[in-house]
């Protein structure tokens, strides 16, 4: 959005911003990095009882090129961390990350040699969800927080 930045900080840019943010927040397609038990709760989050589709996460896109939000669900191994980082790099901007569960946030109950103590050691995380595994309602709450975060972003309006 380069040419609009010359329009400066006015009514038009804030309205374009609001429009793009409204569109992005209500269509945040998750990329499920479902590794372990939290993946089952993530499947329940997409399932019939706690429906994620009504929040705009209509499909779980397993291809990083087609998704916006990466949900890291489960403990991250040192061996797997490289693969996750590669997938994160392949996701196009704008992108956000949810660290679901205690294991993805801080390593959880697994304090040992194989587990990275928190996926924020190599990923920029936007929302942390606690729980082992967190209820799907908690994950919906995290998704709503990400939506709030998206709505306050600036893409067109200059941030001076």
């Amino acid at each position: 959005m380069g040419i609009e930045s010359s329009l400066g900080d006015g009514y038009l840019t804030t309205k374009i911003d609001a429009l793009t943010n409204w569109a992005r927040s209500n269509a945040a397609w998750p990329m499920p990095m479902g590794l372990a038990c939290c993946a089952i709760e993530m499947m329940a989050f997409a399932g019939p009882k706690y429906d994620a589709a009504r929040f705009g996460s209509e499909v779980m896109r397993f291809s990083p090129r087609q998704s916006d939000v990466m949900i890291v669900a489960g403990w991250v191994n040192y061996k797997m961390s490289h693969a996750i980082r590669r997938i994160w790099d392949q996701m196009p901007d704008p992108k956000w990350c949810i660290a679901m569960g205690a294991c993805a946030s801080t390593g959880g109950m697994h304090r040992c040699y194989g587990v990275v103590q928190g996926c924020d050691n190599f990923l920029p995380v936007d929302a942390y969800v606690s729980g082992c595994p967190p209820r799907p309602d908690a994950l919906l709450h995290a998704l709503m927080k990400i939506q709030d975060k998206i709505r306050t972003e600036h893409s067109v309006k200059l941030d001076t």
Binding site: R85, C112, F122
Partner: protein
Amino acid sequence: MDLELSDSLKKVVDGLSSDFSDKFIEVYQSSGDTFVRVEADAIVQICRYLKNEQHFIYLTDMLGTDRFTSEERFEIIYNLVSLRDREHLFVKVRLPEEDPTIQSITDVWKSATWLEREIFDMFGVKFENHPDFRRMYMPEDFDYYPLRKEFPLLGIPGSIELPSTTPDTE
């Protein structure tokens, strides 16, 4: 030592002690399970005998233990099942700390392939004549053997690398 063995297990133990008397070290029971300790260099013949003659056709599990003693540090335990007689038998071998090596039994039971790789990964015990000798869980670049007692629980910092946080410029 008084052992309460069933008839079929008694036959097995008698057969082992008579046919392999020089390799057979001891037999004992613990919590209802029967353990037989043998010499490490005769393991392939003993396994073949147990499979063909005594009908132990299923290898359920193989595990390694670190006894943390100065001699005969490592122990390998084979968990055999006889479906016909409904019995479990545990065969044990002990290996020294310096360069622990043992023959692989993948010719006898193919299910030993991955189990032996796991023992190599975790303890460093080498298996000769193994068809695919690599590590199982940790990447090949890892230099240590995690389940040895001297390896710390939290790992050794720097032994395995994390990805870089600046994206590749390709």
